[in-house]
């Protein structure tokens, strides 16, 4: 297939041919707000007019694929899908693209796609946590053990999220399955155009999940959630397990009256919530995390000005794009959060890492950023 005809295919699948150049996408794009040179509309226009050199430009890789544009598009263009496929194209042409952190995370993910690898990734499970090898409910950890090492300097301990989740499961009388040799879900590789390695990771995970006999897969990472729920279904057909984000699981348990937070562990403070783009705009989970926050004793929830479907991304995604614009987005978010709350809660381990990183660059910014899962475990009296 010639290059142009495959690009035509991308235009068709993402419905980009509907684009009327109204630039509503550029007006809501969080990146365009801090970086004038980035315009989603212009990228679409160039591709539609056949200026394929855009494949060699930075814009394609700085897009956050947060989906703010998709929500506003009057012509129903699937812009994030459009960017995702174009990135695949850009890679095929051996375009040099640079990932944040020297591409170490992508290297790790590619290595994980090799089935010969035998990982030792469950070191975070302590004696007081009960996990199983087979069972109905599976907890999908994601790359948290790797984040712990790579982002040690920011004082982020991502496996606390997994530990909290397991403790909450145990509190509810559930012994979750944790896979000893779980692989990365493949989200970041898929969104950086590396479909081949994504498929290998996904196949490996699906095989392992089937072996455990799980009917419910719960994850605390919105990116894993999106990938397991939407992308695995897209590439491998409907799966016979249900996928839930931990906030949904928590909110269900609260509604059924099974989970009651400990009044003695009152939070006493103003909190605000950062909507992760994968959880919010990609999958429409807005209320469950807020319900959980609402039922934590003493948590007084204040909203950021742009919340729910209008929420601004944490400034970086897929470990590809980090730079001045990301920092500016993060700075604005942290400043706003600090003005209305004492505690910033997020439901995504990556948002937490990005915001903590930005905090290190800002003087006098010492706001606490906590994951919802960890906060819930604390409200149950666990020391996390």
């Amino acid at each position: 297939m010639s290059n142009r005809s495959s690009i035509d295919g991308i235009i068709e699948r993402s419905r980009a041919y509907n684009c009327v150049q109204c630039a509503k996408c550029s007006s809501v794009c969080p990146l365009s707000g801090v970086d004038e040179s980035f315009s989603p509309r212009l990228i679409a226009e160039k591709i539609l007019l056949g200026f394929d050199e855009i494949l060699y430009e930075k814009g394609l890789w700085t897009c956050l694929t947060c989906g703010a544009c998709d929500d506003k598009c009057p012509s129903d263009v699937d812009y994030r899908g459009f960017i995702r496929e174009l990135r695949g194209k850009s890679r095929q042409r051996e375009e040099v693209w640079k990932c944040a952190h020297g591409g170490v995370l992508q290297s790790l993910m590619r290595m994980m796609s090799d089935s010969a690898l035998k990982q030792d990734r469950v070191g975070w499970i302590t004696g007081d946590m009960k996990v199983a090898d087979k069972g109905e409910i599976l907890f999908f950890v994601g790359c948290l053990p790797y984040f712990d090492i790579i982002f040690e300097d920011f004082g982020v301990k991502s496996t606390d999220i997994a530990g909290s989740a397991v403790k909450i499961f145990n509190h509810l009388g559930v012994t979750p399955v944790v896979m000893q040799d779980e692989r990365c879900c493949g989200h970041d590789l898929l969104w950086s155009g590396d479909t081949e390695n994504f498929m290998r990771l996904a196949k490996n995970n699906l095989k392992q999940i089937k072996k455990t006999g799980a009917v419910k897969v719960v994850t605390s990472c919105p990116e894993c959630y999106r990938t397991l729920k939407l992308d695995y279904a897209e590439y491998f057909g409907e799966q016979d397990f249900e996928v839930l984000h931990f906030s949904e699981y928590l909110s269900d348990s609260i509604n059924r009256g099974e989970l009651v937070f400990n009044e003695a562990c009152r939070l006493n403070g103003r909190v605000t919530y950062q909507d992760p783009c994968r959880l919010g705009r990609h999958l429409g989970v807005y209320e469950q995390p807020r319900d959980v926050l609402g039922s934590i004793p003493g948590a007084c929830l204040g909203e950021l000005e742009l919340n729910r479907d209008r929420a601004v991304c944490c400034g970086s995604s897929c470990w590809i794009n980090c730079g001045q614009s990301s920092k500016e987005i993060q700075k604005r978010k942290l400043e706003e959060a600090k003005s209305i709350a004492d505690l910033l809660v997020t439901a995504c381990p990556k948002c937490q890492i990005h915001l903590k990183c930005a905090m290190g660059d800002l003087e006098g910014m010492d706001m606490d950023v906590v994951d919802l899962t960890v906060l819930a475990a604390r409200a149950l009296g666990y020391l996390v």
Binding site: H101, S107, M111, A116, L117, D120, I150
Partner: protein, 141 residues
Amino acid sequence: MTSGFEPRIVAFCCNWCAYAGADLAGVSRFQYPSNIRIIRVMCSGRVEPSFILNAFDLGADGVLVAGCHKGDCHYLTGNDKAEGKIEQTRKLMDILGLEQERLRLEWISASEGLRFSEVMREFVEELKKRGPNPLKRKVVS
């Protein structure tokens, strides 16, 4: 391990000490195995975990990072930074299930040509015992 296995080693050598040491080994005609591919970096502190993991991902059986002796760094503290980064990489390798012995950090000064050849011989022996990199899906020669 299988006879005839020749490990492939990527060596990151600092410009001021280890690379000069390798050079000296060459001009002094010290024999050492030819399993090594040297990449010259300005300082061992420049070698990031991603360089090392990428080498393993592309099929290297071993990675050597070599810099100036402690206190001798051309940039004063570059080799301290290298030590920290290697430590971090080792932790990642632990979780990944790659043997730590496949990654070696050595201090070799510009005058230690003999030591360079000895380190190479030792490392090749060690890797021959351990066998090939378990990840052999994408081999770049």
